[in-house]
Amino acid sequence: MGITISNISKSYKNVKALQDISFDVKPGELFGLIGPDGAGKTTLFRILTTLLIANEGTATVVGFDVVADYKKIRNSVGYMPGKFSLYQDLTVEENLSFFATIFGTTIEENYDLIKDIYVQIEPFKDRRAGKLSGGMKQKLALCCALIHKPKVLFLDEPTTGVDPVSRKEFWDMLKRLQQKDITILVSTPYMDEAALCDRIALIQHGKILEIDTPQAIVKHYPKQIYNVRANNMYQLITSLNKYEHHHSVYPFGEFVHYTDNRADINPNDLILYLESNNLLDVEIAKTVATIEDTFMELAK
C-alpha cells in the first residue's frame, strides 16, 4: 500500500520529461529520488500527487489510482513542493490552521506528529511566513504537509539551497517521521543524502539509471577508483585527462577520483607520468566508490 509506478511516460511538446518509469515504494520506506535539475523528479511528483496526468502508464498511491481515485489520494498524502508555496501574508500559525481546516482537522488533533518540528518555529508563530528565514520556511512547510496525518509524504527537493547544518537536521526529522509509519518519497540533487535513504532511484533525463539500496549501488561500481593528490589541482586534472589510459577523472574534495581503462595498473607508472608533467608531492591510494561516482559512471 505504498506507491506503485508502472511504465509512466510524460512529454511536454517535444521534451520527454519521463520515459517509461517503473518502480515501487514499499509501505514505511524512506525512498530517495536522486538526480539533478531537469531529470524529471518534479514531473513524477506532480503525477503521483494527482496534479498532472501522465501520457502513458499507471500509478497507485496507498492503493488508489492516480487518475480514477485522485480525490482519495489528495486526502491521504502530504506534498511539499520544491518552491515555497505557503501564504506569505499569513502568519506561521494562520498557515498551519488554514491547512488543518482545509483537510477537516485541527492543529490539536495531530499535534503529536508535528510537535518536534513545530516547537522550533513556535516562537515565531505570529510572524508572517514571507518574513521567515529559509530554514524556518522549510519547517513550516513540512508541518503544513503533515497536519492531516498523511500516509505518504512527498518531499520535492526539501534541502536544495539549504546549508549542511539545516540539511542534517531535516534528515533527522525525516527519520523520526518514518518511525511513525509514514511512507516517504523524497527527491534531492545532493548525492550525499542518498546514503540516508532505505532505497534510491538514480534518475537523469527522464530515465531511471538504477534502483537499489545505497550500499548495493556503490558495490556495483565496475572499476577500482584511486584517490590522487598533487601540489596543483588544475594541472593534476589537466594532466590526468591527457593520460592515454584514463577512463574518468573527477575532482572529489581534496583528491581527484581517477579510474583507468586497463584492468590492472601499477600506480608507480602514473606517479612517474604525473611527475614528468611537473607535478610535485604526488600521492595515489585506492578508495571506494560513492553514490556520486556511480551516478557519474552511469550518466556518462
Binding site: 530554514g135 527537493e157 536544495t160 542534517k168 588544475y234 574534495g253 556520486e292
Partner: protein
C-alpha cells in the same frame, strides 16, 4: 595598497535597524586565489557580498575591492568585477549569441571584441550547435557555465560567484570547477559561495561565517587540523552548531 591583495576588508559591518547582519568582518583575498565564502543560511554571506560588489552601502568599516573603496568608488568596482548568481543568470528570451552580445555591450566592449570573444567562448563551451537557440531552452548546467563565461567577458580582476552550482548534475558541477581553476590559473581571483562541502575543499582558502561574524579562515587542510575533523563538512557542522 598591497598590489597582491585584491580584496581588503576591515571591520566591515552592515546593520538593518537593530539587527547586525554583518558584524565587523576582516579579511584579505590575494590575486589569483580561489576564496570560499561559506556559512549557514542567514549567516550574512549575501549581505557581505552585496557590499563588496558595490550594491549595498556598509554601515561602518573599510573595504577595498580591485583597488577601489566601496564607499566612494562603487561604480569603478562594478567595472572591474564579474558577478554571477544562481537566481539572476541570463535572459531566457535571448539566444546564446544575443546574451553574449548584450552583456558585452553592457560591459563596454567594442563590437569587434564582442565578436571575437563570442566565437572563442562558444567554441570553448562546445555550444556551437545551440548558439542561436534561446537560453531558456538549455539545461541548467549549460546555462550556469555560459553565465560564468559571460561574467568573465570583460576580463575582470575578480569574479564573485553566489552558489553557482546549486542543483547542477555532478558531472557538470565538476566541469564548472575546472572552469574556475582555469580562470584562477590565468590570474582571475575567484570569490565563491557554496553549500557543497566537497567544493569547499577545492578552494585555496575558506572563511566560515556564523551569525554575521567570520569564525574561521584558513586553508581547508589547516581548518580540518584546527577543528580535528576529517572533512570540511564536519568542520562546518562543528562551527555552525556552536
Amino acid at each position: 595598497m598591497n598590489n597582491n591583495k585584491v580584496i581588503q576588508v576591515e571591520g566591515l559591518t552592515k546593520m538593518f535597524g537593530d539587527f547586525t547582519a554583518v558584524n565587523a568582518i576582516t579579511f584579505d583575498v590575494k590575486k589569483g586565489e580561489i576564496f570560499g565564502f561559506l556559512g549557514a543560511n542567514g549567516a550574512g554571506k549575501t549581505t557581505a557580498m552585496k557590499m563588496l560588489i558595490g550594491i549595498s552601502n556598509p554601515t561602518s568599516g573599510k573595504a577595498k575591492v580591485a583597488g577601489f573603496d566601496v564607499f566612494t568608488h562603487a561604480e569603478d568596482i562594478k567595472k572591474n568585477i564579474g558577478y554571477m548568481s544562481q537566481k539572476f543568470a541570463l535572459y531566457d528570451d535571448l539566444t546564446v549569441k544575443e546574451n553574449i552580445t548584450f552583456f558585452g555591450g553592457i560591459y563596454g566592449l567594442s563590437r569587434k571584441r564582442i565578436k571575437e570573444k563570442s566565437t572563442v567562448l562558444i567554441e570553448e563551451l562546445g555550444l556551437e550547435k545551440v548558439a542561436n537557440k534561446l537560453v531558456g531552452s538549455l539545461p541548467l548546467g549549460w546555462k550556469q557555465k555560459l553565465s560564468f563565461s559571460v561574467s568573465l567577458l570583460h576580463d575582470p580582476k575578480i569574479v564573485f560567484l553566489d552558489e553557482p552550482t546549486g542543483g547542477v548534475d555532478p558531472i557538470t558541477r565538476r566541469q564548472f570547477w575546472e572552469m574556475i581553476y582555469k580562470a584562477a590559473d590565468q590570474g582571475t581571483t575567484v570569490f565563491v559561495t557554496t553549500h557543497y562541502m566537497d567544493e569547499a575543499e577545492y578552494c585555496d582558502r575558506v572563511s566560515i561565517m556564523v551569525d554575521g561574524k567570520i569564525e574561521a579562515l584558513d586553508t581547508p587542510k589547516k581548518l580540518k587540523e584546527q577543528f580535528n575533523a576529517e572533512t570540511m563538512n564536519n568542520v562546518f557542522l562543528k562551527l555552525a552548531r556552536g
